[in-house]
């Protein structure tokens, strides 16, 4: 097996900016393909410890891969009433840092601000994404994305009906 060159911050930024673009344009099935076959997506509640487990803490979202693919299916339907008509969203990703990497894995964090506009009301989600990536010759896949809100719950935003 060939030795891979270490990835740089701008490699990760390219990945995250492309991810944001897929989400902003509602190309959710393509976004889902960024995950490994067992990739998961978490949004913890804001009064639990930073790396709390969803197995014994109540989160806002704790999707295993099956549920995540069902979330994408649901959001693509007209009957996902909360997103009909679809909201307009804009994701800003910044402060990207590689936390650790090896030949076949990489972890990174990034600050985010996500705006969601529907019916002339704009809600703002902000915090830090933590990513665990799997790396092979084809590139990076997301094994875990954990979006930690820096707000007090969702008092201001009311719901979390999009992928932030």
């Amino acid at each position: 097996m060939s030795h891979k060159t270490p990835l740089t911050r701008s490699d990760i930024e390219d990945f995250l900016f492309a991810e944001a673009e897929l989400l902003n344009t509602w190309r959710l099935p393509e976004w889902l393909a960024l995950f490994t076959g067992d990739g998961v997506y978490y949004v913890p509640s804001t009064d639990v410890a930073p790396m709390a487990s969803p197995e014994n803490n109540l989160f806002y979202i704790a999707d295993d891969h099956f549920r995540l693919s069902e979330r994408v299916k649901r959001l693509m339907k007209r009957t996902a009433h909360v997103e009909f008509p679809r909201s307009k969203t804009m994701r800003l990703v910044s402060n990207v840092r590689i936390l650790a990497q090896s030949e076949d894995s990489l972890s990174a964090s990034a600050a985010f601000i996500t705006y969601r506009t529907k019916d002339a009301v704009t809600d703002t989600y902000f915090g830090t994404h933590y990513y665990q990536f799997a790396r092979d010759d084809a590139g990076l896949k997301i094994r875990e994305k954990r979006s930690m809100l820096a707000s007090d719950g969702l008092r201001a935003q009311c719901r979390i009906s999009i992928i932030i």
């Binding site: 949004v43 913890p44 509640s45 804001t46 009064d47 639990v48 709390a52 969803p54 197995e55 014994n56 803490n57 109540l58 989160f59 806002y60 979202i61 704790a62 295993d64 099956f66 549920r67 069902e70 979330r71 299916k73 649901r74 339907k77 009957t79 996902a80 009433h81 909360v82 019916d119 009301v121 007090d152 719950g153 969702l154 008092r155 201001a156 935003q157 009311c158 719901r159 979390i160 009906s161």
Partner: protein
């Protein structure tokens, strides 16, 4: 007395109609009257015993427009105090939760015990010798605090009836939840704190509305069908019941899995063995009929005015308070048996999140529905009435009728407008 511009609720038994004025959801005068006549006099849910385990444990929580400090003092007794310093009013405790020996007000440094008694103050010799012992220098307790099967309630009306009398027929349903486990029930870590840009009463209606599932939650039902092995072949069916005092419940069979105790294929053979054992235990403790009811029926309970206990694919406890006529703050918790098997706990929490909460596959569509109703009420001058007549002629109301909703509004109307309503 709120200024009545025509009736708030209109009942016509001959025509079989029950109508609610849309003004009730938008009028600031109505909201003020609700504070004065409902939230200042009804029993309001504060928290669950399990949230304060050891002496000195505390949490702060907004209840009925007040900021409360809820403690288990060093004698092990529960206290609910107004979180305002007797000196000049600052919030004494500014943390969300924790364990403390004392609370020190950061403004001038008065120190209070976990029961709110003044323990000391800087420069005590500048005051009269008995100053520290006077009632007005202690933290103020909420006038009434009572518990029922682990659920802790407060009342700001010293003369209110007892909690048990207030709960009345609703007690039976809280007991069914409390009886899930002989080890007792506890709130799971993590609070869902969100809001809905709609009037608070819309969430009371929605929480036990069996009528909206097929359309509003179409995608959730689609999801259930695609889970491993699908569902158990049980059709949605059941009854609605007005419980008096404004409380109401719908009780019904449903095809989803219940950790206590209805197995679904997705939980596998090991899961089946555990669910069977839980069921067997329920039979030993409660007999076949009650065990069957605990395990295989679902219940959406609303305790007037704003406590929801839904014993469904998981158990959720939820409160919601008005911040404005068109805005409410919602808190959601998961309640679960203490010492539950890790796999059952995980299944329970995943069940919860699949449906419930602001990131679930169902609740966001409820939020959307409530906000769309609120938007629709802008048209109330020309389109002034809501209809909640479903099942009015029926002897036994079905789970998807609106008898329980009429019960809520009848009590609401009585509390606001009295007998002249």
């Amino acid at each position: 007395m709120p200024h009545a511009i025509g009736p708030a609720v209109k009942i016509d038994t001959a025509r079989g109609t029950f109508n609610v004025a849309r003004r009730n959801f938008v009028d600031p005068g109505i909201l003020q009257a609700e504070h004065d006549r409902i939230f200042d006099h009804c029993w309001l849910y504060l928290g669950h015993e399990s949230e304060l385990r050891e002496p000195g444990a505390f949490l702060t929580r907004a209840v009925g427009g007040r900021n409360l400090l809820f403690t288990r003092d060093n004698q092990g007794k529960l206290n609910a105090m107004l979180n305002a310093c007797p000196h000049r009013g600052a919030q004494v405790c500014r943390e969300r939760s924790g364990v403390a020996k004392t609370f020190q007000c950061f403004y001038h440094g008065w120190v209070f015990g976990t029961n709110g008694a003044l323990r000391g103050l800087p420069g005590a010799d500048a005051y009269q010798p008995d100053f520290q012992q006077r009632p007005e220098t202690q933290m103020t307790h909420v006038p009434r605090l009572e518990c029922f099967r682990g659920f802790v309630f407060v009342n700001f009306d010293r003369d209110a009836v007892s909690l048990e009398d207030y709960l009345g027929n609703a007690k039976e349903y809280l007991e069914l939840v409390a009886d899930h486990s002989e080890a007792g029930m506890a709130i799971v870590g993590g609070t869902q704190e969100y809001a809905i840009r709609a009037n608070w009463k819309l969430l009371a209606e929605n929480s036990f509305d069996g009528y909206h599932a097929a359309t509003n939650h179409a995608t959730y039902l689609d999801y259930l069908k695609s889970t491993t092995g699908g569902l158990v072949p049980i059709a949605l069916s059941g009854t609605g019941r007005a419980l008096g005092n404004g409380h109401g419940v719908v009780e019904y069979k449903a095809p989803w899995g219940r950790p206590i105790a209805q197995w679904i294929p997705a939980w596998g053979e090991e899961g089946k063995a555990r669910v069977d054992a839980i069921y067997q235990k329920l039979v030993e403790r409660h007999g076949e009929a009650r065990a069957e009811r605990i395990a295989h029926s679902n219940r959406n309970l609303v305790i007037f005015p704003n406590l929801v206990v839904n014993d469904i694919m998981a158990v959720t406890v939820r409160t919601f308070y008005p911040k404005a006529p068109d805005l409410m703050a919602v808190n959601g918790w998961a309640l679960a048996p203490q010492g539950e098997h890790a796999d059952d706990r995980q299944a329970r929490l995943y069940n919860f999140l699949e449906f419930l909460g602001p990131g679930g596959f169902a609740t966001p569509d409820d939020i959307e529905a409530l906000e769309q109703c609120q938007a629709g009420f802008s048209n109330m001058r020309e389109a002034p009435w809501n209809d909640i007549s479903r099942g009015m002629g029926r002897q036994t109301p079905a789970y998807d009728d609106e008898a329980q909703t009429r019960s809520f509004w009848t009590e609401w109307n009585r509390r606001l407008f009295g007998d002249q309503a």
